[in-house]
Symmetry: C2
Subunit: 234 residues, 2 copies
DNA sequence: TCCTCCAAGATCCTATAGGATATTGCGTAC
DNA sequence: GTACGCAATATCCTATAGGATCTTGGAGGA
């Protein structure tokens, strides 16, 4: 509401947005964790990071503080930071239970509220990732992961509740799930399920949208759950 | 699960917990914001904070980075930090819509899952704040606010879904609501509504628990909403 | 063989100084 | 009277150095 009057100056000033080292470091370390370059439990040495990145401690400390707030690293006072552990089976179940509670509801809200602009954005997002390569590669996996994250975030945004959206974003669910497993063959199915959600939203049918989203999340859970059954016997 | 085997040494080592300046600063600034000592929009000058608190910049910068991650302050690169604005009417509505979606569900889950230990904890929390003073004071308001926050957090914990609990905590809803309004006369009603939730949880009746929580949140919304109708004409 | 103690090393935490950037006020030109 | 440009100030951002703490390795004694 206040942003509605910023005008041209405000928009130009927003172009460079945030050109601070802290943010670059934040994204860099986040990428390292997401791509499993650093394994869970790895100690993140501040001095080592200053040498490797060629910058001072301050921006690194700020980044790590934010990453801790996100739950991606853990701070042990006077000992240092460690990369937080991967999802346990319990946490995995919790996460999907939470998603099954939030996302179908959000999809239903999106179906009720979406106007022409919103539908256009959905369509654009769907078109942004159409090419499913024959053989799975790391690059295509990352592209699919990014698209999946944007899609689910967009549904939350279209639901029109910023609190719910932020709350969902802060679970960093996609990041945690991507850390879990990196492999091909799931893109095609997920895309088809996404399309079912979009179709329902376009029709403006809340119940169908919610049902489609529920099916998608349950299918996603079923695809990922075997990871635990073969690795974590608890 | 891993913590189950730490033994005495681990527990003793945990006693001092976190004795770092950053955390003290974090709690201090958080308190300043919550108690409306610093108004929304106020610039938080790092240099000034170093002088007032008598410490160096580093812990302050870490605290502010975490507070920004929490959404309590806003960082404007090369300009400084500002205290984020109070809830708008739209954000207020979003927040309560979100709570109405999450908390009754959590109360129902708590009713299904709670064992004797859990019920004892609920009872203890209820007993921790029984005295409603005749005339509302700032102290009693703070006590009631803290109890209210603990109560709702406990319900989320008893629901047995850590993801949902963290996600809910990170809305900082109580903090934002307390910033909104400071006045007496709501404690008695809120306590009575809390008791209704507890009664249903003790009976192990999910639907009654969910209904009681829903009533409580709706009543809470009705108590707070007039603030907007008289101040914010949007 | 095991335990205790001590010292060296590494790491984090804090403090201070210098460079870069944005804001503010004033003077000048139109 | 208004608008533009420039300089001074304040603030943030970065870098480096010193103090405090924890961990690790080995030596001595029971």
């Amino acid at each position: 509401m206040t942003d509605a009057h910023v005008g041209l100056a405000g928009q130009l000033a927003r172009l460079p947005q945030r050109q601070v080292l802290s943010d670059d470091v934040y994204e860099t370390v986040k990428g390292l964790i997401m791509d499993s370059v650093v394994e869970p439990g790895t100690r993140l040495n501040i001095d080592a990071l200053t040498r490797e990145l060629g910058i001072s401690q301050t921006p690194i400390r700020e980044s790590l503080a934010r990453l801790e707030s996100d739950g991606l690293v853990i701070k042990e006072p006077l000992r240092g930071y460690r990369v937080s552990s991967r999802l346990t089976r319990d946490e995995f179940d919790d996460l999907f239970e939470y998603r099954l509670h939030i996302e179908p509801w959000a999809a239903g809200r999106a179906a009720e509220r979406s106007g022409a602009d919103d539908l256009a954005r959905l369509k654009a997002e769907m078109l942004s990732y159409t090419d499913v390569p024959d053989r799975p590669s790391y690059e295509s996996y990352r592209a699919m992961a990014a698209h999946d994250q944007r899609f689910h975030d967009l549904v939350l945004e279209l639901a029109g509740n910023e609190t719910a959206r932020l709350s969902f974003q802060r679970t960093h669910c996609h990041l945690h799930l991507f850390r879990l497993y990196y492999g091909g063959g799931i893109a095609t199915k997920a895309l088809r399920e996404h399309k079912a959600v979009v179709t329902a939203v376009r029709k403006g049918d809340p119940e169908e949208a919610a049902a489609a989203m529920r099916s998608h999340i349950e299918a996603s859970r079923a695809r990922l759950r075997p990871i635990f059954d073969k690795s974590d016997p608890s």
